[in-house]
């Protein structure tokens, strides 16, 4: 079957395929291992950017868990000015879309970053209202529908690009938050961020992470993510970007069937640096093998 269409649309952005690296899980902008061209992916979601430079948390910052990991990186990053000066020009040369993840401790922080990004080549903003790691950080916005709506509306007013709001799974009802940010004017939602966890070393009787708690990610959280993507997709009309434990095309297609218009691959990249590229390739193969003309026809297409 010729003419397989893998493209999807988020906001006003058409992506050549639905696969991206998840924020913070693979800094393509440092072109780390140079293992495959960034242009193989529909877009790249970059690590959270603050208004200022962030040293990150004290180590240990990561721990392996059954089929996954805990992280408490503490949003280590260069700050928006350095990012615009040094990283964006480098990224611009690649034939892919650039999604900049924005973080802050208070509404003004988000607005400062969104304002500075307004005239850059960033194609979209992803607003991280959900990172559970920074003590005074985004968590307050992500778990309270009113605050989530307010910060979305405030950023929406300033941003020149479409705005994705990234949701925290650490809430009682994901539908409520998804609806709240939709009312705030979000162009899309992405989920899930990591699930807050903890690990204790029984031999030393100490916390494994210096931060005590960390965010759980990887295949261990995939079924939770699929359920939440499904719920969010049924609660809102805006597109949903699904992530959480995707390791291959099958996991990604599961998200798409649950209602995701696009997907992001995070932790899986650490154990297989080709995971995102292989996922994109695998989706195309699945479409070909099943004679499905467009991946868009699979969005939310799960049946009883």
């Amino acid at each position: 079957m010729a003419g397989i269409d893998t493209s999807v649309v988020i906001g006003n952005l058409r992506m050549k395929n639905p696969v991206m690296p998840a924020s913070g899980a693979y800094d393509y902008y440092e072109n780390n291992a140079g293992l495959f061209p960034m242009s193989d992916l529909g877009a790249i979601m970059l690590k959270s950017i603050h208004h200022d430079i962030r040293p990150g948390n004290k180590p240990p910052r990561i721990a392996e868990t059954p089929s996954g990991m805990l992280n408490a990186i503490g949003l280590m990053g260069p700050g928006v000015d350095t990012f615009i000066e040094e990283d964006l020009p480098f990224l611009k040369q690649y034939d892919t879309k650039i999604i900049v993840n924005v973080c802050g401790h208070c509404e003004e922080d988000y607005l400062t970053v969104a304002e500075k990004l307004a005239d850059t080549c960033a194609d979209m903003l992803e607003i991280n209202i959900s990172c559970p790691n920074v003590k005074e950080g985004g968590i307050a916005f992500g778990t309270d529908p009113k605050k989530a709506e307010a910060v979305t509306a405030a950023v929406r007013k300033i941003a020149r690009q479409p705005v994705i709001v990234k949701l925290s799974p650490n809430v009682t009802d994901i539908r409520e938050i998804a609806k709240a940010v939709e009312s705030g004017g979000a162009d899309a939602v992405s989920l899930i961020n990591t699930i807050t966890g903890m690990k204790i070393d029984v031999r030393t009787r100490r916390f494994v992470l210096a931060n005590r708690t960390g965010g759980l990610s990887g295949p261990a959280i995939h079924p939770v993510a699929v359920r939440m993507v499904y719920e969010a997709a049924h609660a809102v009309k805006i597109p949903v970007i699904g992530m959480g434990g995707i390791t291959n095309a099958y996991d990604a297609l599961e998200m798409i069937l649950a209602g995701a218009s696009a997907v992001a691959v995070g932790s899986a990249t650490f154990r297989n640096p080709l995971a995102a590229a292989e996922t994109a390739e695998g989706i195309e193969m699945y479409l070909r093998e099943n004679e499905i003309a467009s991946v868009r026809s699979l969005i939310g297409a799960v049946q009883e």
Binding site: Y26, N57, P59, I62, G218, R271
Partner: protein, 254 residues
């Protein structure tokens, strides 16, 4: 580089410690002393992370990499059980190696136990450049002085120390009184690192340390492998062991 290689041999050399030899010509060609590789040699998603290992030996002509390992948990237990012709995924070589310059006349390599693994590759490389090498290696017992014969075979002066009450750097300190060293390289123990940092205040040589930290990606992406580094103004700053390291000037850490 991310490749699938074949193991050529894998054997336990003394209870709890093994050596694996991998056929990986492309990586052997590029590898520099002090660099490491991320390995995966099991199917499925548990354990989740690849495992970092220093490069212990490189044979460019033969296209092989040697790893010296200690069995400490699930990942290294699987490694010890790996059959000789197993497939191993290798991401590497990664990180910055030990700085080694042509004009050097004498260096010290210092390490403890299996932590001294990268020192053999460094020592052999230095010898091939005509640099004099003194190796100061400590271990719990004589059979844990793993590469003793190799150091001696490549013309290094080898000092082994298995006495828990003696620091192997004391021998280095004695030699410093008698001869000039251009650089000292240390790994495998915080205690040894501190001693080298102190000696580098007193004598004029460049000190380098190779660090270990838990790693998820090994390529600078996750920012999980952070270590605190010194800054001029004392402000809080971290470097990634996998990307800015694993080798650091010892003064940047101590």
């Amino acid at each position: 580089m991310f490749i699938t290689a074949k193991a050529l041999t894998n054997r336990i050399i003394t209870p709890g410690f093994g050596r694996i030899l991998l056929s990986a010509p492309q990586i052997a060609e590029q590898a520099k002393p002090g660099q490491f590789v991320m390995l995966k040699y099991w199917r499925g998603i548990d354990p989740f992370f690849m495992r970092p290992f220093s490069i212990n030996t490189v044979d460019r002509a033969g296209g092989t990499l040697g790893i010296l390992y200690k069995v400490v948990g699930q990942g290294t237990e699987i490694l010890a059980d790996l059959s000789a012709d197993a497939e191993v995924e290798i991401l590497g070589p990664r990180g910055n190696g030990f700085p080694l310059e042509d004009g050097m006349t004498r260096i010290a390599v210092i390490g403890r136990g299996v932590g001294a693994a990268p020192m053999r590759f460094l020592a052999e490389k230095a010898r091939s450049m005509g640099i004099g090498v003194r190796a100061y290696i400590s271990a719990n017992s004589e059979e844990h002085l793993f590469d003793k014969a190799a150091y001696e075979g490549s013309g290094c002066t080898f000092t082994g120390c298995t006495d828990p009450n003696v620091k192997v750097t004391d021998f280095f300190a004695e030699d410093l009184k008698k001869m000039k060293f251009d650089a000292a390289y240390v790994c495998g123990s915080k205690r040894l690192m501190k001693a080298v940092a102190e000696l580098s205040d007193e004598y004029d040589f460049a000190g380098y340390v190779s660090l270990e930290e838990h790693m998820a990606c090994g390529i600078g992406a996750c920012k999980g492998c952070a270590v605190r580094v010194n800054t001029k103004d004392g402000s809080e700053a971290y470097a990634r062991v996998c990307k800015e390291g694993p080798v650091f000037p010892v003064k940047r850490i101590v």
